[in-house]
């Protein structure tokens, strides 16, 4: 008994004892004749042969193979039903050097997880998917799968699958092969020993594809389920060989392993100092050169005890939100507390838009402005909407040649000018908001200028806005 070689030693990628099982720790939980055991063995062997055990992370699905982590001595992550390709994406993106396997059954992958597999494949996620297709729900006890052949009975298709009720069986390999990104897709079967040899080859090649960094691969394995099919194991295997392969022909549907380029290596991560600078600089870092101008207080109401509550309103496209931002930036420049709150959503794209700006020498409680001390109305509907809310003694700027009918409050101060028309004469009607800002006289021009330099993206607009600001100041009799 001592002089023979063990040819079928247990793969190293399997645990020697299945400690995570509660009983019968020397054997798997799969039924006799089940295909999962065979596929597990082929995968474990391939992991051994490729020498990637330490790098491998196995994603276990929901279904009979939910306990795949009982057996594989690799990093293990068990996930929600159908979501394995998404979780595998999260792992692979975090650990590009790892070998990530998504192991899924037909209900998991082709029904509840159809969106996740389609998009992972379409993104070309460099993961390996092993798709075990036994044309039935095993763990839940024999319900119809999206891959159940026409006419087959199950507990939820008791009269046989019909094209009129359940539709046709879903051909996943064919569907995924219509995508550009996948590198390797093959359908194999466990119908006889020769087929199993073919499956072994495909499984190893799929893992090797990932090890080479080439991209998405999927192996569909037609697999027997003797228990649910109510067949003897050998009959079940024969049914795979003779019947299931008719519905699902074996083929290599995609093989770009020769011509596919390895993914570019991720760029080295920047230092934490660089990251901090990136975050502190913000998106528009390049368009906001630092200013040497000293901070300026706004003169009109005195810095001490300042509490401006401004409502800016007008049509979408009149620069309502921008005007509010310039005010807030200018306030910040002047060393004051500020807040800017927009109305947002579809109304911004047409119709009216408004924003609330608060500028104060003390901490700002509510950023909402319900009783404005300054109303900047760029159109008539806005004037009517907000005029009554303006606090007595407040300032109302209106974009028009004269106050419209009904705007008859006597206890507020008005500045009424055709700001848009004035801007039009300067070269672009859209600068009307800045003409109004100049007329409002709320800030020293230098504070507004710093704000504009931070917010305005192009030189042309900066120059136009400066002229608009000046025109606004002049129209109320302030000369620079």
């Amino acid at each position: 008994m001592s002089d023979f070689d063990v040819l079928h030693q247990k793969a190293k990628a399997f645990y020697s004892n299945y400690d995570r099982k509660s009983e019968l720790q020397h054997q798997t939980h799969y039924c006799p004749g089940c295909g999962h055991g065979i596929v597990h063995k082929l995968i474990a062997k391939a992991i051994d042969e490729l020498g990637v055990q330490n790098r491998t992370v196995l994603v276990s699905p929901v279904g009979c193979s939910v306990f795949a982590y009982y057996y594989f001595d690799v990093g293990n992550v068990q996930v929600a039903h159908g979501r394995a390709p998404a979780a595998a994406t999260g792992i692979k993106r975090a650990l590009p050097e790892s070998i990530v396997i998504s192991y899924q059954g037909d209900g998991d992958l082709a029904a509840i997880g159809s969106a996740e597999i389609l998009h992972a494949a379409n993104r070309g996620e460099p993961i390996t998917v092993f798709f075990i297709n036994n044309a039935i729900y095993g763990m839940t006890g024999g319900q119809m799968a999206p891959t159940t052949p026409l006419g087959e009975k199950s507990t939820t298709s008791p009269f046989g699958r019909s094209i009129w009720n359940e539709g046709y069986p879903l051909h996943i390999s064919e569907v995924l092969s219509s995508l550009e990104a996948p590198v390797y897709i093959e359908r194999v079967a466990l119908g006889n020993n020769k087929m199993i040899q073919g499956a072994a080859k495909a499984i190893k090649k799929a893992l090797d594809t990932q090890a080479k960094g080439l991209g998405f691969s999927l192996i569909e394995v037609l697999s027997p389920c003797p228990t649910i099919w109510k067949m003897q194991p050998q009959d079940a295997q024969k049914w795979v060989e003779e019947e299931l392969t008719k519905v699902y022909p074996l083929a290599v549907f995609r093989d770009k392993t020769k011509e596919a380029q390895p993914r570019p290596a991720p760029k080295p991560a920047p230092s934490l100092e660089t990251v901090r600078d990136l975050i502190a600089a913000g998106k528009h870092a390049q368009s906001s050169p630092p200013t040497d101008a000293p901070p300026t207080a706004f003169p009109s109401r005195g810095r001490k005890g300042a509490d401006l509550r401004i409502k800016v309103a007008g049509f979408g496209g009149q620069g309502v939100l921008m005007l509010g931002q310039v005010l807030a930036e200018a306030g910040l420049e002047a060393g004051l507390e500020v807040s800017w709150l927009p109305s947002y959503g579809p109304e911004m794209r047409s119709g009216t838009s408004n924003c609330h700006v608060r500028i104060a020498s003390h901490e700002i409680d509510s950023p909402l402005v319900s009783k404005p001390s300054v109303l900047m109305a760029l159109n008539e509907p806005s004037l009517h909407k907000f005029l009554n809310a303006v606090e007595p003694g407040g300032l109302v700027l209106y974009n028009g040649t004269e106050l419209p009918e009904g705007a008859d409050r006597k206890d507020v101060n008005y500045i009424v000018q055709p700001f848009t028309a004035m801007a039009d004469k300067l070269g672009d009607a859209r600068a009307g908001n800045i003409v109004m800002l100049g007329a409002a006289g709320l800030f020293e021009p230098s504070a507004i200028d710093s704000a504009l330099r931070r917010l305005v993206k192009t030189e042309r607009w900066l120059e136009l806005d400066r002229r608009a600001l000046q025109a606004g100041r002049e129209c109320i009799g302030v000369n620079s």
Binding site: Q78, E116, L368
Partner: protein
């Protein structure tokens, strides 16, 4: 470094990256999309991953994968998307995986609208997924807090190995305020429990599956012990003029900002009002409210939902004092003057 005027949604991403977040998975939705947009801009430059997922369901499961790999990760959405994520959040809590999810609340139910509401309180604070789990919930009321609390959220997520929400309304997400950035960015080392695709971590496993009833009970009790510890150690709140307050206003997020105005207006009229603002919604500042029930004569809860926060306040006060409720929904936000009228009536009733 001078303060910078930025949007609340922008502040979330910047805080996340400063806290070492290196993966963002999300799906566009108003009013949270700026978070994904900012992440798409900053994340690759910071050496991280940004991926626009095919759905919120995929996004939350990508979080599950990256969290298992030991990378600080986050997503952001609004009500309808958070509803879709609940399955994954239950799995994250069950598998004890940390992540941060920002919910910028909008109007519901169904498609509702995109205007601000606070109607995700129940599904976020009480847990919208299946099983006995809780998520920690932080509720910023300013843009600075959007940054600060997001950073804190990552620390809490790791400390408790649990999902942590940053729960804000559309207003806090959309508004701009000056923000100060911390001096340093951090990047914690991957935790020892992660699956890193190497020999040292090969033994590690993440699952929420415990087939034996005794095993699952033990697991659920362990989770509960964590939540109990959070209740003891992580309660955060702000009090504003409560020392001598007769009427305690309670609200979070944008409502708390309005209530600060209300307190000031009420005090100017001689009504002794104060504000308690929960900063953590789970764990909830129940003890503080209970102690205020000893000194104040009534509470008024103001929320942008039809009575969600008020349940926790009533549970805390335990019937010791009347708890009134004032609500606006649909995207309507009460003005300070509107609430002041309510306060006046309440004050009259309790003189």
């Amino acid at each position: 470094m001078p303060k910078q005027l930025i949007k609340g949604n922008d502040a979330i991403v910047r805080g996340a990256i400063l806290a070492g977040c290196r993966a963002f998975y999300g799906y566009p939705i108003t009013p949270a999309s700026e978070i994904a947009e900012a992440a798409a801009f900053y994340m690759p430059q910071a050496g991280g991953t940004f991926l626009q997922a095919e759905s919120e369901i995929a996004a939350v499961n990508m979080l599950y994968g990256s969290a298992a790999a030991g990378v600080r990760c986050m997503s952001a959405s609004s009500g309808p998307g958070i509803s879709l994520m609940q399955e994954g959040i239950s799995y994250l809590a069950g598998a004890e995986l940390p992540c941060v999810i920002a919910d910028i609340m909008r109007g519901g139910p169904g498609l509702g609208n995109i205007a601000p509401e606070q109607s995700d309180y129940m599904q976020v604070v009480k847990g919208g997924g299946h099983g006995c789990y809780r998520a920690l919930v932080l509720a910023p009321d300013s843009v600075q807090e959007m940054l600060d609390l997001t950073m804190l959220a990552f620390d809490l997520a790791d400390e408790y190995r649990n999902p942590v929400y940053v729960l804000a309304d559309g207003f806090i997400g959309q508004m701009m305020e000056p923000v100060e950035f911390p001096e340093r960015a951090t990047l914690p080392a991957p935790p020892p429990w992660a699956v890193r695709g190497n020999e040292e971590t090969r033994k590690n496993l993440f699952t929420s599956l415990y087939l034996e009833p005794d095993d699952l009970e033990r697991h659920v009790r362990n989770l509960q012990a964590k939540y109990d510890r959070a209740q003891r150690e992580e309660v955060r709140f702000q009090q504003y003029r409560t020392e001598d307050a007769d009427l305690i206003l309670v609200g979070y997020g944008i409502v708390a900002r309005i209530l600060k105005s209300v307190v000031n207006l009420a005090r100017a009229e001689g009504i002794q009002a104060g504000l308690l603002r929960p900063i953590t919604l789970f764990p909830f500042p129940s003890e503080q409210l209970r102690s205020l029930a000893g000194t104040a004569s009534a509470f008024t809860v103001v929320e942008l939902s039809t009575g969600q926060l008020v349940e926790d306040v009533r549970l805390a006060v335990e019937g010791r004092k009347p708890v009134h409720l004032y609500t606006r929904v649909g995207g309507n936000v009460p003005s300070a003057e509107e609430i002041l009228n309510v306060v006046r009536k309440g004050a009259l009733a309790h003189v």
